[in-house]
Symmetry: C2
Subunit: 305 residues, 2 copies
């Protein structure tokens, strides 16, 4: 991996994703309050992990990543909607996100609810009516499959149920919960893991990959998704607030179940490393076009925010 400049790759891909999201926003009336609220959160400088995973998976399957741009954009829009709704006063009640005011702080609670609804709904419009936004489009059956993958991962047996369980778990004494590590893993798989897996699979489906390839990429995605969440919990304990754009220790203050709380800080780090190794192993049959996917797995371990 020595001759692969991951930092440059990441920067280039973030720029590609940002440009595409801006094109989508520009297709809406920018003077509207609703569009401004959606843009506030969508262009707030996220890592773009999901769309970049989607593009990298498409690339690993031997296709030009441009065919995965509709799916990549839709995934980031759905991710952003989930952040907007999770931040609401009735939910996690967060004032800051990515270093700037959350959507309901910058606008109003009602506008934030609608901006979230708008991003979620528009993601499906991007997949089904891409118009002239994208140069090369997969056929209807592929686009229908992308819509199905997204609605499953984001839905009531995926991300939404994960947020529901996460909320319910915060009200309880974590130590008193039976087999809480299993419960924590379940929450993460639902809340974060399924969307990460959907990102990788959407890239593969956009590329027209067969079931064997999809299965191997699914293993990669499951490991990477869990590693990402373990690392998130670690960063909340020892991350630099200036880099993260939010205060450290907020999980502990909220009595949230976390890996460091349940298994200790050092064992959590060991676990994250193990997961990343397993993720990279799942890519054994892929050629050098899977370099970015391998680098993303390593990056998840190294990241500071």
């Amino acid at each position: 991996m020595s001759d692969f400049d991951f930092k440059a790759y990441l920067k280039e891909r973030q720029a590609v994703v940002n440009k595409q999201l801006e094109t989508i926003l520009n297709s809406l009336d920018k003077e509207r309050e609703l569009t401004r609220a959606m843009a506030h959160s969508l262009m707030a400088g996220g890592k773009r992990l999901r769309p970049i995973l989607c593009l990298a998976a498409c690339e690993a399957c031997g296709q030009d990543p441009v065919v995965a741009l509709p799916a990549a954009s839709a995934l980031e829009m759905v991710h952003t909607y989930s952040l907007i709704h999770d931040d609401l006063p009735a939910m996690d009640d967060d004032d800051l996100r990515r270093g700037i005011p959350t959507c309901h702080k910058a606008f109003s609670e009602a506008t934030a609810i609608l901006a979230g609804d708008g991003l979620l709904t528009h993601a499906f419009q991007v997949l089904t009516r891409p118009g002239n936004l994208f140069e090369r489009l997969p056929d209807p059956a592929v686009r229908l499959e992308l819509t199905a993958i997204l609605s499953e991962a984001a839905g009531v047996d995926g991300m939404i149920e994960g947020q529901m369980l996460d909320m319910l778990s915060q009200d309880r004494d974590a130590a008193a919960l039976p087999s809480s590590l299993d419960h924590l893993e379940k929450i993460h798989t639902l809340k974060t893991g399924m969307m990460i897996k959907a990102s990788v699979l959407s890239g593969a489906v956009s590329a027209g990959a067969g079931p064997d390839t999809q299965e191997r990429l699914a293993v990669y995605a499951e490991k990477v998704g869990l590693a990402f969440q373990v690392k998130d919990d670690i960063l909340d304990v020892e991350g630099d607030p200036a880099v993260m754009g939010k205060p450290a220790g907020s999980d502990e203050a909220k009595n949230k179940m976390t890996y460091p709380a349940l298994m200790g800080l050092e064992p959590s780090k060991g676990y994250a490393e193990e997961l990343v190794n397993e993720a990279v192993e799942a890519l054994n049959n892929f050629d050098e076009k899977a370099l970015p996917l391998r680098a993303i797995a390593e990056y998840i371990l190294q990241r500071r925010r």
Copy 2:
């Protein structure tokens, strides 16, 4: 229309829709808080106007309405999500809906936000992964078109923008707004009209109707959608609270722009009648299979809730 028993038709179709929605809910884990909250609002005894319009349009195009059941179910789920979010304290702050406590009153605000998100997302899952819920399925291209129609009508250039404008208009002195009748019509077209049109078009698309037929049905739907909203405003002034399941005069109390407020009660009634006549005229080229569509237009004028 004398030998057509509309009351019996409506009852039978409501039962078909309710059964289908129950089948969809049964495919989820019913013990979960999230499922219970979704079921609370979805099975609260709505009129099922949108799904019944969808089935009737399919029928008018000469097809067995069963092929339109996926679209009909998805439309009602999206309609119900919009009611749950509109009722939230940060939005219209309503305690009662269809005579029972609103979702956030029966559960919690956070649960209501997630239940709405869940219904919206699951609607797209129903269209894209119908599983064995539906016996006869349209092909992928048709299902992709249904997904596109739904995401457009419910999205940021449709229902969501309508709710946004509706909220903004409530804070103002209606009389001081320039050309407020135009503005009111715009809000209704976005907030209600586009979903009603989507309902009719989804039925036609499910039936495989051509562009000419779709265009005539679109005119019918536009007129019917507006008539429905004018009648809604009229009912808020003179409706029976016991029948409606909510207090009368709530629009006036909130300083909402309404047809009776802007053009007077009697002229509003005349306008609703005119619209329904135009809707029925648009069906001139259809045979007796369009009887239910004609009866629905008349029903909109007569309804008491």
